[in-house]
Point group: C2
Chain length 472, copies 2
């Protein structure tokens, strides 16, 4: 019943990142003068396939064809696509059961409600209905994926064609409109967070329209995917009588199907409430602390509000940004770090349900164990980076401070992509040879540090999507 | 069966800290020129009773009589004393059962092995044996407490009287030898970590003898208390036939008695191994990173090794120090933060035992829940401090950086007392009116920040002493 066993997943991500590296390496970069190093290209490939958007190379160094490759990598690495692929595989080989044979035990994201089925009185009949419904489900996910992305690309393209202030930026930077639209929409839907511009979305901070188009893309592809999927299934059930049975079956057996992203009804509502809560909290804090600050300089009230909402949505987990993260208050950084750490489907359970309760209990033990050990692993990763970068920490304490390292590691673990960056101004000594770059803080680390962060990104991409707390 | 319910404990600590504040306030400080503010005196009282040794006042500001008061507060706040007091209370009122009535359910440190008794075939006979053994146990703990402290005071006094380099420091500072010895030994045994000198143990860094006397005091009063208690009971059982029965009963029913600090045999061995592990790791890292560094300047090899062992022992959780914490490498700080966060009886379970396993399972769920929420609470506390100190964070980024705040909060939560301090040299602007002080970083915080840290210290003192992981 488990769709996502560990080894096939790590094989998938690892082989695609190697393939992506090879293709990126073969293609010409934008200019002849600058060729990224191999480690940096591999880092970019890993960052794309794990939808992290950590960067060690400026985005405008990549040529149009390289941007297309990155788009493909992001698309193939996104959770909606990979989970759909696993569903189709299960359809194609129902007798081989290559994935079905192993029941949820060692699954890294066999979530709260997936995995262990409740009492199953007629296994054979249920199995048949099961297969039928899974086929239906996989096509619903496919439709959802295609529809949301197509609509996104269309609307973004229209916006860029119509609004001159946004379109002119692309012209100035020599970016093709279609490449930019597809890249940005795929990046937003998969929650990767790469944008073809060096400055990420900072150049579009005064285009609230564009931000408002992208915000739903980010939510539909990540934290709000389960409730929207449920909603789609429900709507389809109402529309056609032929699929009504499947729709009903899926709605009622959400926990049994073994598709992590199909959550029971109560859980879905709780998830929506939790997502709203973790959106409102940083928005309020951000507005309270930064309304008149340097970081939101030059924006009018409407742009500020849209920008702050955009920024907060991006903390989970797209990582696109309209401000220089290093300029915001420490309190916001701490809250953002918590938001980045939380897995997408982290949920406060406000509603009680006996049956669900029982189902949760079993999985909970295992998940909590992982919750605690994840923090232990993160501490070890931070410690290792502190060792590899020890000299820079001493020489350049304002850039290489432990908070910045923690944020970079948590950002990589959460596959977010926020970074404190590196500033030559903050450098205390030897600023002569220093030139500010548009890539992330990790771009300034040693090869050892970069390699550790690659491992953290993989580790993060394979983490559990779920986490639940009883509330209050 | 539960000795430490929540409300009596919080009442105990709160009333004693208020009383301590009143007495400290009534007594004259050392000089007439400086009178600590009320909040700072209350902070000191809380810091003593919660055995934290966070400080907002320089220690040498306190007069001899005030030092005696602080000694009494530390003694009354130490875990060995409070748990012994609860045992005696249980003896005195076996029929009232004021504490016994409530079974482990809401106990903050009803640990892994305390609380829920295993199957109990003859409740009445067991009850009688139980009471008898508890009486015996409470006298063993009393003897242990008195013996370790008396021996400690004697040896430290002798050392100070004999070794001129150490004795002369006291004379120069105008500290009485007996006050210093009692204060330091009580402080070390309770793992409070206050020392009557401003510089804490830094002035004694070249007295490895003194450090070697204090190290066992710290271990015997905290992480190694359970195995040493077991050992004492075993030895007493061998000595007298009269107590042999009680000794046997206690050894075999360690998990049933409900005394948190009496652990089953396997668990004790695992605890010893874990303590050694979390001692060796920071020692190795510290020696590797700091052998030739500024922080250990002027010490010979033997002094360095003893000093580093002393420093590592103090991370759990005494918080005495022989180096300026702010000068050590980031990697060590990260590891020290982890060590500070770990509760005293955190244990990797290397050995398996069916019976124990089952007993653990039940408690584990609850503890993990607390483990996760503790980190959530700590994040909130850090966030709140970032808000109260937001102006200083902007104006004085090198002193008020988030890592220093995190270390201060984790140190208060772990009741450790390590601090990054505050340095006028690190201050970037307006250093004119700045004067370096010997108190902790928190001494430079606003009243709001100090109040938050008081709450964190209470919260930390009431935390669970246990935490276990299955290994590997
Ligand atoms: K991302
Ligand atoms: K302490």
């Amino acid at each position: 019943h488990c769709l996502n066993p560990f080894w096939p997943r790590i094989f998938y991500f690892l082989s695609l990142s190697l393939l992506g590296f090879g293709v990126l390496k073969a293609l010409k970069p934008r200019t002849d003068s600058f060729r990224p190093r191999n480690l940096d290209l591999f880092f970019t490939s890993v960052s794309s396939i794990t939808v992290s958007s950590m960067s060690t190379v400026e985005m405008e160094a990549f040529s149009d064809s390289q941007l297309v490759v990155i788009t493909v990598l992001m698309f193939l690495g996104g959770e909606v696509f990979t989970s759909m692929a696993a569903l189709f595989l299960r359809n194609l080989k129902p007798k081989l059961r290559i994935f079905g044979g192993k029941v949820g035990n060692h699954s890294l994201d066999g979530g709260v409600d997936g995995g262990i089925p409740i009492t199953n009185p007629k296994p054979e009949t249920l199995r048949e209905e099961d297969d039928q419904s899974i086929k239906f489900l996989s096509f619903v996910v496919l439709g959802y994926l295609v529809a949301v992305n197509l609509i996104g690309v269309t609307v973004v393209s229209l916006y860029l064609a119509i609004v001159p202030s946004a379109g002119s930026i692309l012209k100035k930077k020599g970016l093709k409109l279609l490449t930019f639209s597809v890249f940005t929409v795929v990046s937003s839907f998969t929650n990767c967070g790469f944008v073809p511009t060096n400055e990420n979305m900072v150049v579009f901070r005064k285009n609230p329209g564009l931000l408002l188009i992208i915000i739903p893309q980010i939510l539909l592809g990540n934290t709000l995917f389960p409730p929207c999927l449920r909603f789609s299934i429900w709507v389809l059930g109402k529309l056609g009588k032929k699929v009504g049975g499947n729709s009903d079956y899926l709605s009622k057996n959400a926990g049994v199907i073994g598709y992590l992203h199909l959550l029971p009804s109560r859980r879905s509502w709780c998830l929506v409430a939790t997502v709203v809560g973790f959106l409102v909290a940083p928005v309020v804090l951000f507005l309270a602390m930064e309304w008149n600050s340097e970081s939101l300089n030059g924006m009018n009230s409407f742009e500020k509000i849209v920008g702050v909402v955009f920024q907060s949505v991006n903390a989970r987990h797209a990582g696109e940004t309209i401000v220089d993260i290093s300029t915001v208050s420490a309190a916001i950084l701490v809250l953002a770090t918590v938001c980045m750490y939380l897995p997408p489907y982290a949920t406060f359970l406000f509603l009680k349900d006996e049956k669900e309760e029982k189902n949760l209990q079993k999985k909970k033990e295992r998940m909590r164990k992982k919750g605690v050990s994840n923090i232990a692993y993160l501490s070890i990763f931070v410690l290792l980076v502190c060792i590899t970068e020890r000299e820079k920490i001493t020489e350049d304490p304002l850039n290489f401070n432990v908070l910045n390292i923690i944020i970079e590691v948590v950002s990589a673990y959460g596959n977010v992509g926020f970074t404190m960056g590196y500033s030559c101004k903050r450098r205390s000594i030897g600023g002569a040879n220093c030139e500010d770059k548009w890539y992330g803080f990790v771009g300034w680390w040693s090869d050892g540090g970069k390699t550790i962060l690659i491992a953290v990104m993989f580790f993060g991409r394979l983490k559990n999507f779920n986490m639940t707390w009883r509330f209050p």
